[in-house]
């Protein structure tokens, strides 16, 4: 009887040891698997975002690749008119081009152009423009930047009106911001302050984006 009880107890102890060992190994396995799964799920989440962004970029690029030849053809079809666009909104402040335009306008209006000068606001605008471009996204067009200038003239009241009309109808957009006049209708002197614009050269929409 006693030996049978001892055998039973030994069997039970051996069984309990096995279960304890199995439980410990299982807990370890679950822990390791949990950690691995957490890391993998994190990777999946990030890669999903990357995949979405890459898919979008790929789709956009495909539409760009499809549209590019048409754009080039349309641009080529403009011929000499393409120059008008470049003159209307140059890549730089193009001050030399501006003074030629203003000279032509004042000559046509019958005014004597005394001086043309960039005003202090232009420096600030240029600096801002540089900053904007440096931090800009290549997939978005750089915004137009203002370039302030002033022109002084001598003339008459009617010639001043002609000059204003020319400035208002200029292919290169000009926003008159001020006008100072001295003298009388037949002998006017004055200064027009205005702003015109330029826009940095376009970049192909190729840039990288960090996905977090």
């Amino acid at each position: 009887m006693a030996s049978n009880a001892i055998v039973k107890q030994q069997e039970q102890l051996s069984g309990n040891n096995l279960i304890i060992v199995l439980t410990l190994i299982t807990l370890l396995a679950v822990g390791v698997a949990g950690l691995a799964a957490k890391a993998l799920i994190g990777s999946i989440t990030l890669d999903n975002k990357v995949l979405k962004a890459k898919n979008l970029a790929n789709t956009n690029l495909q539409s760009d690749v499809d549209a590019a030849p048409k754009l080039v053809d349309a641009y080529a079809a403009l011929g000499t008119q393409a120059g008008v666009i470049a003159d209307a909104l140059p890549d730089t402040t193009d001050f030399p081009g501006l003074i030629v335009v203003l000279e032509n306008m004042t000559n046509d209006a019958g005014l004597r152009l005394k001086s043309v000068a960039p005003t202090t606001g232009a420096t600030a605008a240029t600096a801002t423009g540089t900053t904007t471009t440096a931090s800009g996204d290549a997939s978005q067009a750089p915004p137009p930047q203002p370039f302030d200038f002033s022109l002084s003239f001598d003339g008459r009241y009617d010639t001043l009106l002609k000059l204003l009309d020319h400035l208002e109808k200029s292919a290169r957009p000009m926003r008159i911001t001020g006008l100072q006049i001295t003298g009388s209708g037949s002998a006017l002197s004055g200064t027009v302050t205005a702003e015109t614009y330029y826009q940095d050269k376009a970049q192909l929409p190729l840039s990288t984006e960090t996905i977090k």
Binding site: I25, L61, L71, A141, A202
Partner: protein
């Protein structure tokens, strides 16, 4: 009298019970391991699939980038397209000072001399000058307020005035006559936004 009891079946039964217990424990443990391993393997396969898809897309993107860069004349065409797209908005920023002078003409310019005109970013125009009398300043103020409605070519009561919120901000007698400052907001008809041309 003696009783014989056969204890072997009892020990055997205990062993069998113990074996079943061990088998069940082992089975459950193995099942949990398999589930854990399976989940990890499945997730790993999914991750590997994603990496492959990302690589394929990256290759496709590089290929398209090369294609775009190889199209001759594209940078110039793109530049023209972007600049053309900006021009409309820039033209709409223009202000038509000639509209002011149309109204000014109606107010007898001999008696209200202009010194300066400024327009701020919100199209508020400030006019300063010298007039002979206070009445001349008032005449200019009224002419501006009535511009395109009663004053100017093609003026009609149904038109939108070129200038709104016309106010005489200051008027004071000085050695030359009456100094004045008039402010007004250039409405859409007097700016590029309203195609005032």
């Amino acid at each position: 009298m003696s009783i014989l009891i056969n204890l072997l079946p009892d020990v055997r039964q205990a062993k069998l019970r113990e074996r079943r217990r061990k088998q069940m424990a082992s089975g459950i443990a193995v099942m949990v391991w398999v589930i854990c391993g399976g989940v990890v393997v499945l997730l790993s396969v999914y991750v590997a699939g994603q990496k492959v898809a990302i690589n394929v897309l990256s290759g496709s993107i590089k290929d398209k980038e090369s294609k775009l860069q190889s199209i001759s004349g594209l940078p110039d065409a793109l530049n023209a397209e972007e600049h053309l797209a900006s021009l409309g908005n820039l033209y709409s920023k223009r202000v038509y000072m000639t509209k002011f002078f149309d109204a000014y003409q109606q107010a007898d310019p001999q008696d209200a001399v202009l010194n300066s005109l400024t327009v701020d970013a919100s199209n508020t125009m400030t006019v300063t000058g010298e007039a002979k009398t206070y009445a001349d300043v008032a005449k200019l103020d009224r002419a501006l307020a009535a511009s395109n409605v009663q004053v100017g070519t093609n003026a009609k009561a149904s038109n939108q005035p070129y200038f709104t919120n016309v106010n005489i901000s200051s008027v004071n007698a000085d050695s030359k006559g009456v100094g004045y400052t008039i402010t007004a907001v250039m409405a859409s008809g007097a700016t590029g936004g309203g195609n005032g041309q």
